[in-house]
């Protein structure tokens, strides 16, 4: 009898939720409106435009024209620079992070490294290009000192800052810290007990790395490398300041195109942009997948 009364006291369920739901949705409308207008729409229309010609008809011509020599070369160089700086940055960043976390170094080094990495990973663009010019350029400090003290000419080794390897080296300045910042939490996740457990079960250090640590770390490592790749691919300011248009990477090509319609074909520009998004998008999706996978293991 008591139960029956309680059930009858409550109003039918259908009435209330609809009202409450609409107020909640109102709270996020500004966000969705903003991102729609200033993030999704511009990008989306560009992507659609890549498949249109000047009159608005559907075509695959733009995509086909991506493979013409200038543009394809630009992509090639961009990908090469990004791969080089991503792989090197990932490896060196990993070693640095490992040295600080597991290398038996004083405690205070870790927060210091984190702070410096935070600063260095944001120090990019024009100032970074200047900094490297001032260091390894023709009148740079290191170049001059090498000549002065060791009578060693940097130029004689064939090294030129305004080149592929010069740009890669410069990119590493923010790639390595980025890697350090991303990998540190992953390395933290390597529990001390695993090392001890493997050791007490008879494994050597190398066996531990081969069977436990590296398998656990490689999704994070690969994912971070991908992030570095996407990061490098989308960069422009540093390259523009350093190598200008002598090293024709995709971002600079697109920049010139937007600036002065160098390609004489706006839709081709859209295709360029599309190509960029596909590459960076794929990298990021792969990164997220890898991260989710490693998080599942380490729950």
């Amino acid at each position: 009898m008591v139960v029956q009364t309680i059930v009858e006291d409550f109003p039918p369920i259908a009435a209330t939720p609809r009202r409450r739901l609409s107020w909640n949705w109102l709270g996020v409308v500004p966000f969705f409106a903003f991102t729609a207008l200033f993030l999704l729409l511009p990008t989306g229309l560009l992507m659609v435009g890549a498949f249109q010609d000047a009159d608005g008809y559907f075509t695959l011509n733009n995509i086909r024209n991506l493979f013409t020599e200038t543009i394809w070369n630009a992509y090639k160089i961009s990908i090469e620079v990004s791969l080089a700086s991503a792989l090197l940055g990932a490896l060196l960043g990993f070693l640095l992070a490992y040295a600080v976390i597991g290398g038996g170094l004083p405690r205070w080094l870790r927060p210091t490294l984190m702070t410096l990495s935070g600063v260095a990973s944001n120090f990019a663009g024009v100032p970074l290009a200047f900094a490297f010019l001032a260091t390894l350029g023709p009148t740079g400090l290191v170049t001059v000192l090498l000549m002065y003290f060791f009578n060693f000419s940097l130029r004689s080794t064939g090294f030129n800052l305004l080149s592929f390897w010069g740009l890669t080296l410069t990119y590493l300045y923010f790639q390595i810290p980025l890697m350090v910042l991303i990998m540190t939490p992953a390395l933290d996740g390597l529990k001390k007990e695993w090392r001890e457990a493997s050791s007490i079960l008879g494994a050597t250090r190398w066996q531990y790395w081969r069977h436990v640590a590296l398998p656990v770390l490689w999704p994070s490592f690969l994912g971070s490398a991908l992030l570095l790749f996407a990061n490098s691919f989308g960069a422009i300011a540093t390259a523009y300041a350093l190598t200008g248009s002598s090293l024709n990477i995709v971002t600079i090509l697109l920049y010139a195109q937007i600036r002065g319609d160098v390609l004489h074909d706006q839709n081709l520009g859209y295709a360029l942009a599309l190509g960029m998004i596909v590459l960076t998008g794929a990298s990021n999706i792969f990164y997220i997948w890898l991260r989710a996978r490693s998080e599942r293991w380490l729950k």
Partner: protein, 357 residues
């Protein structure tokens, strides 16, 4: 000769002496517990046996061989960690097989042994699961199987049940003991839970602040604690203040009531303040006959714990906790009731000095 012999083991971290003069001889097949509060050094000693810490001085011998300087991966010792420490990238079978794999045993041998181990821990069907798919209790059993797969000489367990739910703790406790008995493997079990230590061990080593307080069977350390620390740490204990009345006759005063203590008053002077200890199960809520001690008091608190009813009786300044069994026919007494408690003279433990205020 003892199977595991630890002699004059010491460990100093910087300025702190964490383990002081630890001596222990363990027979083959014995189950020993290290019992003590956090920071007492029990885990440090365990880790020195495993080889993760180097002793500052002293020696550890296993089956006659001095292992003090051997690295952990050469000692053939099995270890189960508090946080399970299962390798997340390997299946259960992979984890259990790990020790054999790194020893380059043939595949057939590994497979057979893994199957044997999984049967031992009663999880034969979970070989292909990953650690994150298992419950805490299951993970710990796999950790046990992994440690035993390499047929170690000694099994070390570092508070393996602390991270588990109460019910699982109890069942796993029994399982570990059964497995250990069946295999006859010498085992050292570190815990801060005295119920675990008492129920599982052949002998218990009670530690405090880096020192051994007492080594003995569970019966011995519970009923004949040698120091105040052991008395208060192992089991619950009533500690009461008393004033010595007549040392010759053995009478003492608790809150102006006189009782007799049958031992422990040697060298005491009249008027001295002392502490006495009483186990709850020694106290009875009846007026007993003969030469049992009797004390008059008021019932202050009644806690119905199911099978046990815990009653606190207050005298004036002091109070005593006693346990009686639940009896469906006789409901527990009411608070505020006047009552008499009794206990045998022999059950009264006189401790040195007065209880600190």
């Amino acid at each position: 000769m003892a199977f595991l012999s630890i002699q004059e083991l010491r460990k100093v971290f910087g300025a702190a002496s964490v383990v002081q003069k630890f001596d222990l001889a363990v027979e083959r097949g014995e189950f020993i517990s290290f019992l003590g509060p956090s920071g007492c050094g029990k885990t440090t000693v365990l880790r020195m046996i495993a080889g993760f810490e180097r002793p500052t001085s002293g020696a550890i011998r296993v089956d006659g061989k001095n292992v003090t300087d051997l690295p952990p991966n050469r000692r053939n010792v099995g270890m189960v960690f508090q946080a399970y420490a299962l390798f997340p990238n390997m299946t259960v079978a992979g984890n259990v097989a790990f020790g054999l794999k790194v020893a380059h045993r043939p595949q057939s041998e590994i497979a057979a042994r893994v199957e044997e181990m999984l049967k031992l821990i009663k999880l034969p069907a979970l070989g292909n699961r990953y650690p994150y798919q298992l419950s805490g209790g299951q993970q710990q059993r796999v950790a046990l199987a992994r440690a035993l797969a390499i047929k170690p000489q000694i099994l070390l367990l570092d508070e393996p049940l602390s991270a588990l739910d109460a019910k699982i703790r109890v069942s796993l406790r029994e399982e570990i003991r059964t497995v250990q008995r069946n295999l006859g493997i010498t085992t050292i079990f570190v815990t801060h839970d005295q119920e675990e230590a008492l129920s599982m061990s052949d002998r218990v080593v009670v530690m405090n602040e880096g020192r051994i307080e007492q080594i003995g069977t569970p019966f011995e350390i519970y009923n004949y604690p040698r120091t105040r620390f052991v008395a208060s740490f192992v089991g619950t204990l009533n500690i009461l203040q008393c004033r010595v009345a007549d040392p010759a006759r053995g009478t003492i005063m608790i809150d102006e009531q006189e009782i007799v203590a049958s031992r422990g008053l040697n060298g005491a002077k009249a008027g001295e303040l002392r502490s006495v200890a009483l186990r709850p199960e020694a106290v009875s809520l009846r007026e007993a006959n003969g030469d049992w001690n009797r004390l008059r008091g008021t019932i202050e608190e009644v806690s119905f714990l199911g099978a046990i009813v815990r009653i606190r009786v207050r005298f004036k300044e002091s109070a005593v906790s006693l346990d009686t069994f639940n009896s469906p026919g006789a409901p527990p007494p009411e608070r505020g009731q006047s009552t008499i408690v009794s206990f045998a003279r022999d059950d009264l433990l006189v401790l040195d000095g007065a209880e600190p205020a």
